[in-house]
Symmetry: C2
Subunit: 320 residues, 2 copies
């Protein structure tokens, strides 16, 4: 047993509900600022394993409006909600594109909701690790439910499984043939499918189609993904959406899957953090260290191929 270190003031402030302290540490995590480390370390044992709901899906399906309504539902149930939107801004500028894109329709001064967008700096894996850290800070800050919205589709969305306890995949009836082809990939991340814009033609068909696919599929570790229809223009299905999310959370507890999933996520988070450290150090040295620059010169001159260069740089050291 390690003796607990004294709690830094910022961590104490976050535990006491100080929103400015919360915002500051999230920015530090976003910036990969090492001064966040003692704070997140102190908060880690003070998390409560609250539900982390990942909401993902292609562009234009209405994820933000859906989250807005879901937050309203949760507030009506007297649950507090922390939301983090991971946005698709470029790793080159490092800037956040979306800013505070979601405009939550909340009464002024509703302290039960906290929204924050995060730029997806660096790589998909590193983003997942940073996002998980933010969800834990929100958990420690006392929110009952944490929602993570990812923008776009592809790897980043798949990474939602490394972040969320329940993953909601949002689709719309007709988004082109490409979505059809995506479905198979989405099956492995979706705990709940949400067919949004249920007022559009083809919505019933899309729902039946998905339900059929779900029925045929094996289901992940004993859970058959649920299919819910929603509409945000004439709000409908939001209660059912939340009920199905809660049903999955209950399943995680009843089946004993929760600790197994948490272990898998933590393992993947640690690996990503190490990868990120190694990558950052190496990028830096390839720029500055003359011997490494010489190696890069050889690659540029086509005398050494990139794989061989990587092998030379990756001589397994002691503990790795």
């Amino acid at each position: 047993m390690t003796r607990a270190a004294p709690i830094p003031a910022a961590a104490r402030a976050i535990l006491d509900g100080d929103r400015r302290a919360l915002a500051r540490v999230i920015s530090q995590i976003e910036d990969r600022d090492p001064t966040a480390a003692p704070i997140t370390r102190a908060l880690y044992p003070r998390t409560h394993a609250v539900p982390v709901v990942g909401v993902t899906g292609p562009l234009g399906v209405g994820k933000s409006s859906l989250i807005n309504l879901l937050v309203g539902r949760l507030r009506a149930l007297d649950r507090t909600v922390g939301i983090v939107a991971v946005d698709p801004s470029s790793p080159y500028s490092g800037g956040s594109v979306l800013g505070d894109r979601i405009r939550l329709d909340r009464p002024a001064g509703d302290g039960g909701v906290y929204f924050r967008s995060m730029a997806s700096r660096g790589e998909a894996g590193g983003i997942a690790a940073a996002t998980r850290e933010v969800t834990r800070v929100l958990d420690a800050a006392g929110f009952d439910v944490v929602i993570v919205e990812t923008v776009g589709s592809g790897q980043v969305d798949v990474a939602v499984r490394d972040v969320a306890t329940t993953s909601v995949v949002v689709l719309v009836p007709h988004l082109g043939d490409e979505v059809q082809t995506l479905k198979a990939g989405l099956f492995e991340i979706a705990d709940v499918f949400c067919v949004n814009k249920a007022d559009l033609p083809g919505a019933d068909l899309a729902r039946r189609d998905l339900a059929e696919l779900v029925r045929l599929g094996a289901g992940r570790a004993g859970w058959t993904p649920r299919v819910v229809s929603t509409s945000t223009t004439q709000p409908a299905g939001i209660d059912e959406l939340w009920e199905n999310i809660e049903a999955h959370e209950k399943f995680l507890d009843d089946s004993g899957q929760r600790p197994l999933e948490e272990r898998r996520r933590l393992s993947s988070e640690i690996v990503e953090l190490v990868r990120e450290r190694v990558g950052r150090r190496l990028s830096d040295r390839l720029e500055r260290d003359p011997s490494l620059r010489g190696l890069l010169d050889e690659v540029v001159a086509r005398r050494i191929d990139p794989r061989t260069a990587a092998e030379r740089l990756d001589r397994p050291g002691p503990p790795r």
Copy 2:
């Protein structure tokens, strides 16, 4: 100067135009099979730095149809084309979702076109490295132009800059508000913007809007992104699209940017390859090595936080 090693038979076959040998080594690269290494190593000095055109954009914008027409244009110009589509299939199953999704309208037996889809196994960074290796194999195999299609949006698409010499971002007039917010991020990857479905209402506005944004933007290293309108239903703008891609390729040569960009891409590729090696080794050891499993147990029990665990695992060794 290193003495050249003897060329493996498979590499020789690829240089001689053997398509089965080509297909085999691409599968090996896709599978991260180390037996590909001597082949890609032998091919590396035999590449010609052909144009690698990345085509990216959100789901449903018609990238595949556009590429189909672009290939037709290139064949009319008597250029051979190798195409690799990086698809969004899940890293969990490892299977390719799309298969041979693009149906190229080519006369039977047109040996001047080779199409291959690649599953995006593993992480975004690793995919970029593997995709670059495939583009070089296609280059060595003698194709005049290589096209890389990425599916989805977000990190994977941003990674196209680490793969392509010219990046084409495809948009459509109205894809919802979310695309608007994406634009800023896309500006940093687009050398050419393509407003597809130019027959839809709003296309002129979208084009003017983009052109205006481009005019205001600084432009990357002396290049102002071009804006082209295309239609694939009543084919239009395809010649102009190719002309603008070529204009960018010419700019890379005239401005001296090509070697700088190539150096940047190679550096990032090497870093990703090292990261991938480190991550794979560590994931493996976290499962099997009792001391590492013990560390993970401590993290799961909330006694050690993930960052601290990552620090302990990442003790900088000799050359790194």
